[in-house]
Symmetry: C2
Subunit: 223 residues, 2 copies
């Protein structure tokens, strides 16, 4: 069965406060996106696709050359929103109907090989698989100026890779864009797909702020 990993790296450096888009910032001497890429390269029989803003494609190719990365993959230009980046990718690839597609944040470089493999395996059975973890902090729901405690045991924080059967993914990405789509599970769910969760990983963090960069260096040195 064909397995594809689409690594979406469309972010800017806005929240990071840097000129360099965050996926190109270095941890342990290598760009974050390259760390992410290598996690998927370690999984057997997965075709890797990197989706980047048009203006960053040449930078990625420079990185590939500089770090002597000899792993075949495709590079596709993304859109203005993550939704359009994924849509572009699935629209421009040769994909079998039975294929499983993993979609992963370019700035989430620590998803383990075991987690990636598990998500593919569960998606093969259930049609999709999304990793999620419990909340450690109390959670409050905001309602205008007010807020109220909610039961944190009834909520989970969602990670990637999120794996879907291609036919389901493709059908879902034919709907119109909605700002409520903060991940791919929400796109599929808007088409009545029931999402199947699996346990994520504490260290599978998304690097979006300067403190995350510090955490990322620490993870690389410790694990």
């Amino acid at each position: 069965m064909q397995k594809i990993a689409i690594i979406v790296a469309g972010g800017s450096g806005k929240r990071m406060g840097t000129e360099t888009p965050k996926q190109f910032l270095h941890i342990a001497g290598k760009p974050i996106l390259l760390h992410t890429f290598m996690q998927f390269a370690a999984v057997s029989d997965v075709e890797i696709v990197v989706v980047l803003p048009q203006e960053h494609i040449s930078l990625w190719q420079t990185i590939i050359n500089q770090f002597k990365v000899d792993i075949k993959h495709q590079v596709i230009a993304g859109g203005a929103e993550r939704f359009y980046s994924v849509k572009n990718a699935i629209g421009s690839l040769m994909i079998e109907n039975e294929a499983l597609i993993a979609i992963h944040d370019g700035v989430r470089p620590f998803a383990s090989k075991a987690l990636i493999e598990r998500c593919f395996k569960i998606a093969a059975t259930y049609g999709n698989c999304v990793p999620a973890i419990a909340l450690k902090d109390s959670l409050r729901k905001i309602d205008g100026e007010k807020s109220m405690i909610v039961n944190r045991d009834k909520y989970k924080l969602v990670q990637t890779p999120q794996v879907f059967k291609f036919t389901h993914l493709n059908a879902a990405y034919n709907q119109a864009f909605n700002t409520a789509f903060t991940d791919d599970a929400s796109v599929l769910e808007a088409q009545k797909e029931t999402i199947h969760l699996t346990e994520g990983e504490d260290i599978n963090i998304k690097i979006t702020s300067p403190s995350d960069l510090v955490f990322a260096e620490a993870i690389l040195h410790a694990f």
Copy 2:
């Protein structure tokens, strides 16, 4: 105005998988609880109270001697639940009616002096103040075997210190214990108090898992 900080350190090592309760694990050569304690010691005019399980009080005193900590504070034996620990503390202290009480997790060692001072200041005006931060990951609500996306912009992750006017806190802790009380804000809220949020801090993490220990070491070295 009297200002008191109650540092609640009742945890066991269960989630950490260690024999040593997590508040006594070391980061950068010092117990986590001592790091937490020193953050409050840096704030002017705050009386510090440490609440510990009875069986750990002598260990804390050993630490105080070993690290030559010469900061006056009180130590109080806690209860079986965090709720009872706080209740014991406020029941056994001499507190003025106008006092402000900060309640803080013993395993949250990076609350900045600025955050602690801001929480006291806001609570002086609004009766309470609770720090909270936005979610970076998508959030799903769990409903039995199913789950659904919710708008993460409508939720916040709650931190400590949580500061309250003593009279409000004392009244709230006269109600019966409820397992829904995951923090002090939820205890006060059950008595119809409106909770006032302020922006928390990314690095103000609660150390509950082995990966948090790695993050904590990194924070200490970077900031």
